[in-house]
């Protein structure tokens, strides 16, 4: 765990271990476009098969592609003759798929980490995240706690947009036996983040801590952290939940 600041503008290093051997993946800084492509590649469906509900949530192909798109260097692998694997043509495609998925899974490791009741400070909502970001010089992955994001309260229109986008689906193969495709709503969450963010703690850009420079936060905050923070905000109980029919019968 680290009490240091998470450096948003630094490349990320992920170390994975397999059979007591360490493999180091060095990524360039991930952009909003990288994350958007990742989200769009996730498969999330439900359908009834032989009377049973079958749910499929598969991020693996998207994770593999995220790794291949943003990876710059690796250590721990060797090509025939002992040369660096990076000397091979299309070397990224030759890395073990399971390793690429594991490394990319670490890139996506950020989640809400609320210590207790959500605190409301002078009309602001505070969300706390925890994230694994990058390895230190010894190859140990550092976990950051206490990554604070403070938001204004969502308006009823914003809540409506969130509920609407969360409920939109596509059905293919017929209305009765068809498959429901659940599109992700990460882009909407990232947009809400930009609309509502007021200040952050725990992050830095260059040598300076990021605090309440809203335009800078919007431009530089990692998109996946935006999505995690906004998701925690809308799940915090500050919003009215979508009612079921049992509650709406009146």
């Amino acid at each position: 765990m680290s009490s240091a600041l998470l450096h948003l503008d630094q490349p990320r290093t992920v170390v994975i271990k397999n059979n007591h051997k360490a493999f180091t993946y060095r990524f360039r800084r991930l952009t909003a476009a990288d994350w958007k492509k990742y989200y769009n590649g996730i498969t999330s469906t439900t359908e009834i098969v032989n009377g049973e509900m079958r749910r499929v949530f598969d991020p693996n192909t998207a994770l593999q592609e995220l790794c291949e798109e943003t990876l710059e260097h690796v250590d721990g692998y060797t090509a025939p003759g002992g040369a660096s694997v990076e000397t091979l043509d299309k070397w990224k495609m030759k890395l073990p798929i399971a390793h690429k998925i594991r490394a990319a899974t670490v890139l996506t490791d950020v989640a809400s980490d609320q210590p207790g009741d959500l605190s409301v400070i002078t009309d602001l909502n505070e969300v706390q995240l925890a994230a694994t970001w990058s390895a230190d010089e010894s190859g140990n992955m550092i976990r950051f706690l206490g990554l604070i994001h403070r938001f204004r309260h969502p308006s009823i229109d914003q809540l409506r947009r969130f509920n609407r986008e969360s409920s939109r689906t596509l059905v293919v193969g017929g209305s009765r036996s068809g498959k429901t495709i659940w599109p992700g709503h990460q882009e909407v969450l990232a947009a809400f983040y930009d609309e509502l963010i007021v200040s952050v703690d725990g992050y830095s850009l260059g040598i300076s801590a990021l605090t309440d420079q809203v335009d800078l936060i919007k431009r530089e905050m990692d998109t996946h952290h935006k999505v995690a923070a906004a998701r925690a905000l809308f799940a915090s109980g500050d919003d009215a939940e979508v009612q079921t029919a049992a509650g709406a019968q009146g």
């Binding site: 359908e47 689906t169 596509l170 209305s175 009765r176 979508v242 019968q249």
Partner: protein, 126 residues
Amino acid sequence: MYVERDYQNLRIAAREVFEEGLAWKRVQRRLLLDRVPDRAEFIEQCMPARNLADGYYAWIDYLLWLSTMHDVVSFRDLTASEAEGIRLVRAARDEFAARHVHCPKCGELNDRAAVGCSSCATPFST
């Protein structure tokens, strides 16, 4: 097919959701009062089956929330699918209300054709 524009099937889903709500209340009452050996199996047996793909019910849940909230805040920029959706869930709610009556003794909701209350067994006058 984007479910929000499939009004025909959304009407079916809305009717099912209201019936589900009533069935769920009855299941909860039974689970509270009686010892049931396998709760999950009991719930599965008592709850009516859904006939449409999952996505329809998610949109109906949203429309029910929107319909209630619209009474409070009167959204001015509803999309066509939201406006039509509010209309159809309210119609389904009205149809459901027309098919059911409250027991004069305990207030429980019963089918209009029932001869007595499913909860307190009070006979309904004909």
